[in-house]
Subunit: 200 residues, 2 copies
């Protein structure tokens, strides 16, 4: 790790085992290819061609297509949806939901849809997706709710697990099924009509 960073800092143009901007270009290519053809039809060759990179470069960094795709999702979501800490549970939930809405409706949305659509046919992908992406998203929401509970903002009997599940479910439902807008107006409606009343 240290040696690769040193090489990166030194600007060595070739043979670098890790290069953050190169990794990002490969992740971006992965997203684009996945948005176009889906997970099943995605190949390392297509990602390499899109990123104008050698296939060996990809394999040096990710062992398999599964690893590449899951890492791409996790990296993207952790950037799009940074853990909020506004000081209130309402503020934190709103910031989280707006970030998540941006992620789902932005350039990654098509890729996310393609990925979710294939989970039923790809048990290995489904397990990896649940263990990383979904667990990460739920963990962030859980910490938001726990901090709210510690500050005394939440009713002691509030169904925290259910509120957590509803927050993820509603946005995904609009993305995958109804096609209705996932925007600020919807986030506010969800908060005011469902999530906050259930916490109070």
């Amino acid at each position: 790790m240290h040696s690769s960073r040193a090489k990166e800092a030194g600007g060595a143009p070739r043979g670098r085992p890790r290069d953050a901007s190169r990794d990002d270009a490969l992740r971006k290519a992965t997203l684009e290819v996945m948005a176009e053809v889906g997970y099943r039809a995605l190949t390392m060759d297509a990602v390499a061609a899109r990123a104008k990179a050698g296939k060996a470069t990809i394999y040096r960094r990710w062992e398999s297509k599964l690893e590449l795709v899951i890492d791409t999702c996790n990296e993207l979501v952790s950037r799009s949806v940074p853990e909020p800490d506004t000081g209130s549970v309402a503020g934190d939930l709103r910031e989280f939901l707006l970030g998540y809405a941006d992620f789902l409706t932005g350039p990654s949305g098509k890729a996310a849809q393609a990925l979710v659509g294939e989970l039923p046919h790809e048990p290995e992908l489904a397990t990896a997706f649940r263990d990383s992406f979904l667990t990460g998203q739920r963990g962030m929401l859980r910490r938001i709710l726990e901090r709210g509970a510690e500050r005394g903002e939440i009713n002691r009997h509030a169904p925290l697990g259910m509120v957590n599940e509803l927050a993820g479910a509603t946005l995904t439902y609009r993305l995958m099924l109804t096609g209705e807008p996932i925007d600020e107006a919807f986030v506010d409606k969800l908060l005011e009509q469902a999530l906050l009343p259930l916490l109070n």
Copy 2:
């Protein structure tokens, strides 16, 4: 319509333009093929072969693959989830959700998953799915909530549209993303922790 029924009743073995049991066998074959290969890869030939029927038989009844698939979904859901009328909004919601849960987790579940997964890539399918299946399901929930409101069981300020959306979203989320059980225990938890509190 009348003449076809007459032929059916007469038991004419060939050339019947409509035959309910034949239609059902074709819908069943459609579901099976869709569960295996998905919507995009489904062909009328594969459905015909599965049902041991001629392709012409299918085309006499459904003009296109899209029409066949949408009709299959609608027919199935209207049988799996009959409109409840128990006399209370809690009873009606529970019966609706249990029926819907059975539908999603039963033999049709795999086909439903395959279909939903392909909506993002199939705009025509998505539109037909929303206009029939989704509109039907939401209409049933809306009538359940309206009857509850007329009986005075629901707070005048309750967010009926949001409750309707949450009911569909949570079951779909478990089916498509989390893989968690969609069973009676979950239906009761959803009612007690979210839907009924939001209505009261």
